[in-house]
């Protein structure tokens, strides 16, 4: 029983990270039709900015992590907004070129991080209370899992409130359905594009911070490895749906953990791909296709 609880909470923690990356990816594709292969790079850059800042400020690991995370999130959001303004905006409706640019950007940013900070993993500032465990029904759960889950829940609630109760949220939800009609109502939908990119970059950077806490270190390939699962989550959840993305992230995180333990170590990734195939056969548009909610 304790093993099952540990696996479940760890799976939820992993799902929380997938959700943070996938939510931005999903909104960006849903609103703009942009398959952003550079999204993982936002995570990596955000994580490295957090780590670098933490090595240059004083205080204990908790303070270092907090200050570093604030800088990391700001860098992730700014980088994403800049990418949208400079590289993506001139290429709207040119999908092949967008893919080429975002793939190229992902490679460039990854190479840049390697060139500046090297290939080796860098140790993340993780306070002791996050490394400690809490016992639940006999299972010793690392506290960072709760932080990851709580953060993802807060981001989910925040994004849901943004989409439901703000004018920009209304524009994003409408734009996911019919971008041309939004402009035909006199709205400059490009401002929403930049905002959604920035929100996506911020959430990805947050995933970068939490992955640093989860793994205790950050390395140049982190964003790329997590991006693959984020894409699977987005496809399963349905492009443009925050609710669908959240459900898919939880399911993928849990399936991966359970399969790794109960079937065979390393089988988790295969189980996730099988799950993707099953969902695509049953519901080709994903769980909640093309409506931002």
């Amino acid at each position: 029983m304790s093993t099952f609880i540990l696996l479940t909470i760890t799976g939820l923690g992993l799902g929380a990270m997938y959700f943070l990356i996938a939510s931005g990816l999903s909104l960006i594709y849903g609103l703009m039709g942009v398959l952003n292969f550079a999204h993982g790079a936002f995570l990596t850059v955000g994580a490295y900015a957090t780590w670098w800042t933490s090595t240059h400020v004083g205080g204990g690991p908790g303070a270092k992590l907090l200050v570093g995370a604030i800088v990391g999130l700001a860098v992730g959001a700014l980088l994403a907004a800049l990418v949208e303004l400079v590289l993506i905006r001139p290429l709207y409706e040119r999908h092949i070129e967008q893919v080429l640019v975002t793939v190229g950007l992902a490679l460039v940013l990854s190479a840049l991080v390697e060139a500046i900070w090297g290939f080796d993993a860098r140790q993340f500032p993780v306070p002791d209370w996050l490394i400690d465990t809490t016992t639940i029904f006999g299972a010793n759960i690392p506290n960072d899992r709760f932080l990851e889950i709580a953060t993802a829940v807060l981001v989910f609630l925040g994004l849901t409130a943004f989409l439901r109760y703000t004018r920009y949220g209304l524009i994003v939800r409408a734009g996911v359905e019919n971008r041309a009609m939004v402009t035909a109502l006199g709205i400059d939908v490009r401002k929403s594009f930049t905002l959604v990119f920035a929100i996506g970059g911020l959430a990805a950077a947050l995933a970068g911070v939490l992955s640093g806490v989860y793994f205790g270190a950050v390395d140049p390939g982190r964003g790329t490895s997590l991006l693959i699962f984020a894409f699977i989550v987005v496809v399963i959840g349905g492009f443009g749906s925050i609710g669908g993305t959240a459900i898919a992230a939880v399911v993928v995180g849990l399936v991966q953990q359970y399969a790794n333990y109960y079937a065979s170590s390393g089988l988790g990734d295969l189980a996730v791909v099988l799950l993707l195939a099953l969902v695509l056969l049953a519901r080709p548009g994903g769980l909640a296709p093309k409506v931002a909610h």
């Binding site: 209304l170 524009i171 359905e177 402009t183 006199g186 909610h293």
Partner: protein, 233 residues
């Protein structure tokens, strides 16, 4: 003086040269109907005026050039648009569909609810669950919510039951009291009821422009230009 001037408008969609030098004028006030057989470029003309398709030529509103402006700027100049297939946001409620259309601090909800009282009672309902007629009300209401000098309305009665056609025609008449309307419409009875001017397209060009009564009162001419028994009587 013409409120809208269209000069030598060309639109290519893929391999097809849809508009081949369309030129016409829309006088200020009332309803001008844009007529023609299926596929002659009526909807494309409205979409070109809105900047929703790449176009070449000159379009001006009250003397100001629109051709170089993006769609949202054209709308902000006072151009409302009711698209052919309504294009309501299916996942948004009726209230949200109206709220997103607000462009200034004083949206005309009183007018909208006076014309379409049903929209008030269905405010919380998802627009995708409305009937075709109710969706058309939402589409027209979005354009009427703001003070526009021009309304471009594309086949508002398409697929509607006769009772709803009458309701939509009444709304168009009311709209014409507030703004100049350029209307694409296949139902000649509606055209006869609301329009004062007509422009007829064929093969991507204007083949006739003049008074609505004169054209619709000449069945031979209607049959020759539109391929239907006309008159709208």
């Amino acid at each position: 003086m013409a409120l809208i001037e269209v000069r030598d408008l060309h639109v290519h969609l893929g391999e097809s040269h849809v508009l081949q030098g369309v030129s016409f004028e829309v006088p200020e006030g009332g309803v001008t109907a844009l007529l023609g057989r299926n596929g002659v470029g009526k909807t494309t003309t409205l979409r070109a005026l809105m900047g929703l398709v790449p176009r070449r030529g000159r379009v001006s509103l009250a003397g100001a050039e629109l051709t170089r402006l993006p769609t949202h700027r054209i709308v902000q100049r006072g151009v409302g648009y009711v698209p052919e297939d309504r294009d309501v946001f299916a996942g948004l409620s009726v209230d949200e569909n109206l709220r997103i259309a607000e462009r200034n601090g004083s949206p005309r909800y009183e007018l909208v609810y006076e014309l379409f009282p049903e929209l008030k009672t269905r405010g919380a309902q998802k627009a995708g669950t409305l009937s075709g007629g109710q969706q058309q009300m939402v589409a027209i209401a979005r354009a009427l919510l703001n003070e526009n000098s021009v309304l471009l309305v594309d086949e508002p009665t398409k697929g509607l039951a006769p009772l709803l056609v009458t309701e939509v025609a009444a709304a168009l008449e009311r709209a014409a009291e507030l703004a100049t309307v350029l209307l694409v419409e296949q139902n000649l009875a509606v055209v006869a009821r609301v329009a004062q001017q007509v422009v007829v397209l064929d093969g991507g060009r204007v083949v006739h422009a003049g008074g609505a009564k004169e054209l619709l009162g000449d069945p031979e001419r209607v049959r020759a230009l539109l391929g239907v028994h006309g008159g709208g009587h």
